[in-house]
């Protein structure tokens, strides 16, 4: 088995993920590109498990499992943030998000939602 093939695959996938995060405007598509990067790291870890002879066997695969769990937690919180953003501003474009919080505008929206429940 030649380890250079999966290593280059992982490097290209990581580059694609970086490109997607910087290029996409839609927040859900940004999260998909983040998933591409996490999977590239997983492929590196699993491949390194075959090339590196560590003291503990199968450490790379254990780390890949841990990264999968981290990705699941990340996607849950990330999608909660995206959906809350959509509820407040009716948009999921990441460059429409104001970096400075307007002090009053968010408040009536929250109160409306509260009264509507």
């Amino acid at each position: 088995m030649r380890p250079v093939v999966p290593y280059v695959t992982a490097a290209l996938l990581f580059g694609l993920g970086v490109y997607g995060v910087l290029r996409r405007r839609n927040a859900v598509l940004v999260l998909m590109a983040v998933e591409l990067m996490l999977n590239a790291v997983n492929l590196i870890l699993v491949t390194a498990d075959t090339t590196a002879r560590a003291v503990l066997p199968h450490s790379g695969q254990v780390f890949a499992l841990f990264v999968i769990v981290l990705a699941a937690a990340e996607i849950g919180v990330g999608l909660a943030i995206v959906l809350q953003l959509y509820r407040l501003r009716s948009t999921v474009a990441v460059d429409d998000v104001a970096l400075t919080e307007p002090p009053v505008s968010a408040q009536p929206v929250g109160r409306d939602v509260e009264a509507g429940r």
Binding site: M1, R2, P3, V4, V5, P6, Y7, V8, T9, A11, L12, L13, F14, G15, L16, G17, V18, Y19, G20, L22, R23, R24, R25, N26, L29, L31, M32, E35, L36, N39, N42, L43, V46, D49, T50, T51, L56, P57, H58, Q61, V62, A64, L65, I68, V69, A71, A72, A73, I75, L79, A80, V82, L83, Y86, R87, A93, D95, V113, E114, R117
Partner: protein
């Protein structure tokens, strides 16, 4: 070139091709479906590399749960079904940084490993991985369970608008006599 090399090459080509389509397609839903293809090809890669448990967990969690969550989010944000034109920013800095990262890492790894071969170690079955996790990696495993719990609580808190409102608002709604029932239920609930 052995059979494993050819399989790795083919699955890697499928994964990279689907990844290109994920970051370049104009259809939101199709991006999610191309992500399924990419993650499935990676699961095949893991199988060829001898990581059986990781491959099946990849299929279960990524293809089964994460992509379904992403497609739910696409639907809940009322994405258009057809092609949409406003998905992208101007591309050349992204292409520069992404291409630089991908090609730079490729050159680094090709230079490190050339065309060398390795013999495959034993397959990572559930028995061997479980032995490793519960013998050597117990503490990170427990920390991850706490992290999953806190992510769950965080997602619940984020998606409920009535948590974290300032306290005087309760007095305001209590003075409102039009909806006494709701206020009473609210007061009990808090």
């Amino acid at each position: 070139m052995t059979g494993a090399d050819l399989l790795l090459l083919a699955l890697g080509a499928v994964a990279v091709g689907a990844g290109v389509l994920v970051v370049s397609t104009k259809h939101l839903v199709r991006a999610g479906l191309y992500l399924v293809v990419c993650l499935g090809a990676l699961a095949g890669d893991y199988l060829v590399l001898g990581a059986e448990l990781v491959a099946w967990v990849q299929v279960l969690i990524y293809v089964g749960a994460v992509v379904v969550l992403l497609l739910f989010a696409v639907m809940l944000t009322r994405a258009p079904i057809g092609a949409s034109d406003d998905l992208d920013r101007p591309g050349w800095p992204a292409a520069l940084i992404g291409g630089g990262a991908g090609l730079g890492l490729s050159v680094l790894l090709v230079d490190a490993y050339r065309w060398s071969t390795v013999t495959m170690p034993g397959a990572g079955t559930a028995e061997r991985l479980g032995e490793q996790i519960f013998r050597s990696w117990v503490l990170p495993f427990e920390v991850l369970s706490v992290l999953l719990l806190s992510a769950l609580v965080g997602a619940v808190v984020l998606s409920r608008p009535d948590i974290g409102q300032p306290a005087p608002q309760r007095g305001d709604t209590a003075g409102d006599t039009s909806t006494p029932q709701t206020v009473g239920a609210d007061g009990v609930r808090r």
